[in-house]
């Protein structure tokens, strides 16, 4: 019961984050929304693992907790690179 309540809360938050990712005027809004969508997925998978009494789901959350931010870093990096890295000779100091 309590896990169901937690799941419901997380699902509502995921829907709101998805709305921000779809609306988000700047590119940073979308990145931020994806990032917190990832965090919410970590919570969701952990809670569902308890809801269905299969704690081995926690490994999946652990994977997300460990490597989800790589995506964010990569987006930031490639975004900047795409803008400045291509013009050779300009040193704008990296991300």
């Amino acid at each position: 019961m309590m896990f169901a309540a937690g799941t419901l809360a997380v699902l509502v938050s995921m829907a709101l984050a998805l709305a921000r990712a779809l609306l988000g005027p700047t590119i940073y809004d979308r990145i931020m929304a994806v990032n917190s969508f990832g965090t919410l997925t970590v919570i969701l998978i952990a809670v569902i693992g308890f809801l269905s009494d299969r704690p081995s789901f926690l490994d999946i959350s652990l994977v997300y907790a460990l490597i989800n931010f790589i995506t964010t870093i990569a987006i930031m990096k490639f975004f900047k690179y795409n803008r400045i890295g291509r013009r050779s000779g300009e040193d704008l100091g990296g991300l």
Binding site: T26, Y28, N35, S36, I43, A46, K80
Partner: protein, 117 residues
């Protein structure tokens, strides 16, 4: 008796965490610009995730599951500030101005396409 206390505690923690998640998400949707939205997203990453995971830990008891939950918590507490830092830094350095209280640069949010410049 102890079991009851633990149950009540984890109820409170999970419900509180869920509430913080929803609050953070609403904040993400309602705040006016990128930096304040990041501030709202931080609520999800710390209070929401932290409270829910601690509540789950109380349910799990002293097992491997608890250790894994603690590891998840620790790793998210490392990675989430890192990505928020990278995000804010690159937003500032590409010229997204924070909204100021006195309305100094109250322009509308820029659309997508910072790469046009």
């Amino acid at each position: 008796m102890v079991a009851l206390i633990v149950d009540v505690l984890s109820w409170a923690l999970i419900l509180g965490g869920g509430a913080f998640c929803v609050i953070g998400a609403v904040g993400m949707l309602r705040m006016p610009d990128v930096f304040t939205r990041m501030h709202a997203a931080g609520v999800v990453d710390t209070a929401g995730l932290g409270l829910i995971l601690i509540g789950l830990m109380l349910q799990a008891g002293f097992t491997l599951v608890m250790v894994k939950l603690a590891l998840i918590l620790v790793f998210v507490l490392y990675t989430s500030p890192m990505s928020t830092h990278a995000l804010a830094q690159s937003a500032v350095s590409t010229g997204v101005q924070p909204l100021l209280a006195d309305g100094a640069n109250n322009q509308k949010d820029k659309e997508d396409e910072p790469s046009k410049t």
